[in-house]
């Protein structure tokens, strides 16, 4: 992309897309990103209003400001899309992600894992003599940091939800 070549500043943006909950709508969004060479760092999707038949897709993406502008415009073109909001530029948003983190080990490492989990406010949701499963919620950077700390302590498995985002204040999206 020529615009990208000119300006090398890559930014990370969180974009919410409110869509009509019809089969294939996720494929349209993902196909758009794949077909036009945009990045997807994380993606979450679920129905948010059963009666109104709407789903919300939250995408964390990265690109130059020009590319981000294109991403928003291209999403806006998709027929089943109600709204597109960029939480990074248009409105101040809050982001949260949840992760389940399995740490296997015994002795000193196990004690240290539990101590760190406590500091991160991660909850223990499964325990054996040789393992913990932690549930941790926070912004993606916090989860990255926690996972990095668990690595030398016997990190065995990670499952992350991707980002959910919402605006601050009383207004809806």
């Amino acid at each position: 992309m020529s615009a990208a070549a000119k300006s090398p500043s890559i930014e990370r943006h969180t974009i919410a897309v409110l869509v009509d909950n019809e089969a294939g709508v996720l494929a349209r969004v993902i196909g758009l990103f794949a077909g036009r060479g945009y990045n997807i760092e994380s993606l979450t999707v679920a129905e948010v209003d059963h009666a109104a038949h709407t789903s919300r897709i939250t995408i964390v993406t990265s690109g130059t400001p020009e590319v981000i502008e294109q991403i928003e415009a291209q999403l806006g073109r998709l027929v089943p899309v109600h709204r597109v909001v960029n939480w990074t530029t248009a409105k101040p948003g809050i982001e949260r992600e949840m992760a389940l983190v399995k740490v296997s080990g015994t002795g000193e490492r196990r004690v240290e894992a539990l101590r760190l989990a406590d500091a991160f406010r991660a909850r223990v949701i499964d325990t054996t003599h040789a393992s913990f499963v932690f549930e941790i919620t926070g912004n993606p950077d916090k989860i990255d940091a926690f996972i990095d700390l668990m690595r030398p302590l016997g990190l065995a498995d990670v499952s992350r939800t991707g980002v959910a985002a919402i605006s601050r204040g009383p207004e809806p999206m």
């Binding site: 020529s2 000119k6 019809e22 294939g24 709508v25 996720l26 502008e69 415009a73 073109r77 109600h82």
Partner: protein, 599 residues
């Protein structure tokens, strides 16, 4: 999400008329005002073909290949402003339609393509002639649907027409499983449509319109750069464009897709711009201080090297599709709206605010432009031995001037010569594959045009290589007595490929010679059409007249100079002021390594 894509469910509506899904298809087409459809039958659409059999209003044109059907529908749409309708079967029928869908998407042509699908209970089982049609066509349609419930069928077809024809037009696919065609359900009419999400924006923001005319009024070196959006907006947009351009007195150029929106005979017309545009159009684009882009999209064929594109210009960009704004080129004033509506407002403000142009600056600008025009960049050296392709087009133009003519083209040098030399005075008269550059477009497109305009003279300006890609549609022309004229500039080469190999690959003409060409005259006769051939400039005029007068489809084999190149040319990766004007200049032309990477 299930892989079957957009499955539509519906509920039987009160007051709806009961009928089979197949009957609904026909009824919906009629309620949408459809008179002609282009198609090809097969197992998965037999119920619809049966319903068609029972109907005597809709004319079905049986093409010889589903690609041909889609291009015919494109020609029909482009020449009438109405949507083109296609009916094909599942599996190979649908996959054969993909080229036409992509072509229509790139050039914003409204098509409604109905595809048969295997019965709903077989979907996902690799059934005979099953393919994931909505999956395959998702990236090459504006929208598509798989209709799994007969009670949603009528509504979906109406919605399909609405989406294909409004906003930025484009192709849509409605995939209809065979059991849905047999089932009975409730039919609803077009009035039932109010889409849940789709709201194309067509009214301009007036503040932006005023900003645009501010820039125009203060311009010293302005240029209008217009595109297919004007044609798509309808004939009124072309009329308003003419009024505005006249009022302002500015020069105007256009993209390949926009030809005819402004009359080529007018002195303010600079000719087409871009890779094979005129010297004056490209120089004006490069040196302008205000660019008024209306319904065009800064395509790479138009801009050339993007960082050297109109470096001093303030740019106004009108487009109905918001995603085109700032996509390739950053602009100063953006207007997302319909072209006709915006032109109306521009004229309104220009007149009521009594705007004046900078007359002295404009006079100097015109003086400069006349100097560029003096280069006569479309000139060529004629010959009395060989038919020069440019000469052939000039004669075709001269001998058809004043008639009711529609031109389609294939893709290659002949297409560019046609665009450069044939003078279009009206919109909707020029049908060519711009965005996708699809060889094989022109012949079937001519069929579609002729179907819509039975009494008109419809000519496909063709290359001998392109025309072989969809040649079988001559059979369709003969069957439906469509007297299309296929004017083949036969240079025995894929001329455009040969030209690039000469410029970029040291004259190594790898697989670009059209060997073992058919005898086009005999081929025409085999189809039951008329074959003509001209080998020397002396016989050209008489043969063209013969072609025009024959009331049958014609294949005219015009043997032209095999080595002629198409100039001017801006090589890929070069700027507007780095044009090559002739073979002599080409020898010294340097194409950068980066430029060679570009198509």
């Amino acid at each position: 999400m299930d892989r079957t894509g957009t499955a539509v469910e519906g509920v039987a509506r009160a007051g709806a008329v009961e009928m089979s899904g197949a009957q609904m298809v026909i009824r919906a087409l009629k309620d949408q005002g459809v008179k002609h459809i282009f198609g090809y039958p097969g197992g998965a659409v037999l119920p619809i073909y049966d319903a068609l059999f029972a109907d005597d209003e809709i004319v079905h044109v049986l093409c010889r290949h589903e690609q041909g059907a889609t291009h015919a529908a494109e020609g029909y749409a482009r020449s009438t402003g109405k949507p083109g309708v296609v009916l094909v079967t599942s599996g190979p029928g649908a996959t054969n339609a993909v080229t036409g869908l992509t072509d229509a998407l790139m050039d914003s042509i409204p098509l409604v393509v109905l595809t048969g699908q295997v019965a709903t209970h077989l979907i996902g089982n690799d059934a005979f002639q099953e393919c994931d049609t909505v999956g395959i066509t998702r990236p090459c349609t504006k929208h598509n649907w798989l209709v799994k419930d007969v009670n949603a069928l009528a509504h979906t077809i109406h919605e399909a027409f609405q989406i294909a024809t409004t906003g930025r037009p484009g192709p849509v696919v409605v995939d209809i499983p065979k059991d849905v065609q047999f089932k009975k359900g409730g039919y609803v009419g077009p009035a039932s449509i109010r889409h849940r999400t789709y709201r194309p924006k067509t009214d301009p923001e007036l503040g932006q319109v005023v900003k645009a005319i501010d820039l125009m009024a203060n311009a010293k070196r302005p240029v209008f750069y217009t595109g297919g959006g004007i044609v798509n907006s309808g004939p009124e947009a072309s009329a308003l464009l003419r009024e505005l351009v006249k009022l302002a007195g500015f020069p105007i150029t256009s993209t390949l897709m926009g030809l005819g929106a402004y009359p080529a005979s007018d002195p303010q017309w600079l000719g087409m711009l871009g890779m094979h545009g005129t010297y004056e159009a490209n120089k004006a684009m490069h040196d302008c201080d205000v660019m008024i882009c209306l319904g065009a999209r800064f395509d790479d064929r138009v801009t050339g090297r993007i960082d050297a594109f109109a470096p001093e210009a303030k740019k106004i960009h009108l487009d109905i599709d918001a995603s085109q704004i700032n996509k390739n080129v950053r602009v100063d004033v953006a207007i997302v709206a319909d072209a006709g509506k915006t032109l109306k407002e521009m004229l309104h403000f220009w007149k009521t605010q009594k705007r004046k142009v900078d007359a002295a600056a404009l006079a100097a600008w015109w003086k400069q432009i006349e100097q560029w025009r003096g280069k006569n960049s479309l000139a060529f050296k004629n010959s009395d031995k060989l038919i020069k392709p440019q000469h052939a087009i000039d004669r075709l133009y001269a001998l058809t001037k004043g008639r009711d003519v529609y031109i389609t083209t294939e893709v290659g040098q002949h297409q560019m010569w046609a665009a450069q030399r044939f003078k279009f005075e009206e919109p909707n008269r020029w049908m060519t594959s711009g965005g996708l550059g699809t060889m094989g477009y022109g012949l079937p497109a001519a069929l579609g045009v002729q179907m819509a305009h039975p009494g008109s003279l419809v000519i496909d300006i063709a290359g001998e290589a392109s025309v072989q890609m969809t040649m079988q549609e001559m059979s369709t022309a003969v069957q439906y007595e469509l007297p299309i004229k296929i004017f083949i500039l036969n240079n025995q080469y894929m001329g455009m490929v040969r030209q690039w190999q000469q410029l970029l690959h040291g004259g190594r003409y790898s697989h670009s010679y059209s060997e073992a060409l058919p005898d086009f005259v005999k081929l025409a006769e085999a189809f039951g059409a008329v074959g003509l051939r001209a080998e020397s400039p002396r016989e050209l005029d008489a043969k063209i007249m013969e072609m025009i007068e024959v009331k049958k489809p014609v294949l005219f084999d015009v043997r032209v100079d095999p080595k002629e190149n198409c100039y001017p040319m801006i090589p890929s990766g070069a700027a507007h002021d780095e044009m090559i004007l002739s073979d002599a200049e080409e020898e010294s032309a340097q194409v950068s390594e980066e430029g060679k990477m570009l198509v």
